[in-house]
Symmetry: C2
Subunit: 288 residues, 2 copies
DNA sequence: GGTGTTGTTCATGAAAAACGAATAAAACAG
DNA sequence: CTGTTTTATTCGTTTTTCATGAACAACACC
């Protein structure tokens, strides 16, 4: 079954005559006659009753006519969705843990309210795995610590984060890595970019960093600092949302380690309607 | 856009590779490559990202993939409906007034309960107009007074009716048309077959029938007989359902005028799934 | 640096679609 | 009743589209 066959069938059914349908489709009647028989042969059903040189729809033909209209409607909808670029379908966005907790929730509700037909999904992972997800096609977009230099990716800066070091409350002021040398370090797993920032901070002071204990959530990270006297690097906005934040001492870092920019990244050429709608929403434009 | 193009697109999208899709479809890769480009050109959209000899679905491609699946599902449903013959769509049945009032209602609820997806419609009219409706394609089936000899139609007997003559209560017994000669006659309009039966009864007795007063409902027909002292021919089952039936006298007619068979008729070749389901239901078979 | 992949281009053969003329059968007009 | 017109269809031909295999360039993997 082909759509062109159905179009011919529909024209004949609606016009009630092969000749009229032929002129409507700018074809020759013999063509329609042949292709109609071919369709009937194909389906194994008689679509028309042929009596006295006149065609009338058979019951099976009436059924098919209904389906033909539905298929054309679907086709038109598909073409409109492709050309017009209305957000639709699945939209899988990846995010770092901190961004997912702080900045993402309000965006999610706005997006879902504006484009309810989009099936929005969020996956949280460290920055490195998010980039893999983008390249592997598992993610449509990702919020990662940036900037990211990657030929296959495009991106836009989204949020500014102030990064702070936390120690136990009794600890003295921290001006450089020397002041925390030897202390236990709590961080996310290897592929987390904040962890690499922390390593960079140690390197800048030429102080060796002890191998970090790998923690899976900011909540337990804070608990570890309080209980165990180690250090951790966290976004200030994240810290402000955690219960128990008064029990640690916050130390501001010097440039360039005190600032982190969260970027929205996507695969080059993958900026589709769903993602564009996200960006527009983020930048205050109401809709397309 | 053609379904064959979409099938190729779907295979490539699912396999993630032109070569694998080609072997799945038993085609040659160059073929798929060309037809894919043709589809993209057709739609004016890039369906795949071509980077380093590898294909990945673009956002537009993901949208189209969803539509392609829906179209194939619709196609499969249509073919199943045509071959398997599941009742669906519109089903327009015509009926005489009396049958519509007495026998049709229980059938309608049974049919609608068994095949809720069928859009069932009933049109009431005199037998003659019903036959026109069948031939003109406005009706899928009709319940008419039979038997009907018509080359274009097929039919089955459905209900047996006893036809009785009613007069005012004070009237004496009626053995032949002579006993009611000269009385006012109430009947439906010309194309009603019961009216022709009555005419036949008069002719058999060689009694001229006065031109009938045309009435549009059995209810008012009964009222006229009560009030005006005329006669009318009605099915006994119809009469039994009418309020005020005690106020008329019922006279049984001799053969062959006392029996009428209501036939279910349809256009030859038009016995589709909807109608077959109706017949099966009528004959006690639960379903297909 | 070979050695297989991959997707694409191109020329060619095969299949399908569209055409035009001819035919038969019914509808219509005189 | 008899031409005339209109109808769907069949058949042979042309045109378009589809499918193929060989040649190629870009990449991945030893």
């Amino acid at each position: 079954m082909e759509l062109s066959q159905l179009r011919i069938f529909q024209a004949v059914a609606e016009e009630g005559s092969i000749t009229r349908a032929a002129s409507r489709l700018h074809r020759v009647p013999s063509n329609l006659s042949t292709r109609l028989k071919q369709l009937e042969e194909n389906l194994g059903v008689e679509l028309f009753l042929r009596e006295r040189q006149r065609l009338t729809l058979s019951p099976a033909g009436k059924v098919l006519l209904g389906y033909a209209e539905r298929m054309f409607a679907l086709q038109a909808e598909a073409e409109a969705a492709l050309r017009g670029g209305e957000p639709a379908g699945d939209f899988v966005i990846g995010s770092m843990f901190s961004t997912a907790a702080i900045h993402l929730p309000p965006m999610l509700v706005r997006y879902h309210r504006t484009w309810p037909s989009v099936n929005l999904q969020v996956q949280t992972a460290p920055s490195g795995e998010l980039l893999d997800g983008l390249l592997g096609g598992r993610l449509d977009a990702a919020l990662v610590d940036g900037p990211v230099e990657f030929a296959e990716l495009d991106g836009l800066p989204m949020f500014e984060e102030e990064m702070v070091l936390i120690t136990e409350a009794s600890h003295g002021p921290v001006r450089s890595a020397e002041d925390v040398a030897g202390l236990e370090v709590y961080a996310f797993r290897q592929s987390c970019s904040y962890r690499r920032r922390l390593e960079g901070w140690f390197v800048a002071s030429r102080v060796p960093m002890s191998p970090p204990m790998e923690i899976e959530s900011y909540h337990s990270m804070l608990a570890c600092v309080i209980a165990g006297g180690g250090i951790a690097l966290v976004p200030r906005s994240m810290l402000n949302s955690l219960p128990g934040r008064e029990e640690v001492r916050v130390h501001e870092l010097g440039a360039p380690f005190d600032r982190a920019t969260t970027w929205l990244m996507w695969r080059k050429g993958m900026l589709g309607a769903n993602l564009r709608a996200w960006i527009d929403l983020q930048q205050g434009r109401s809709d397309a």
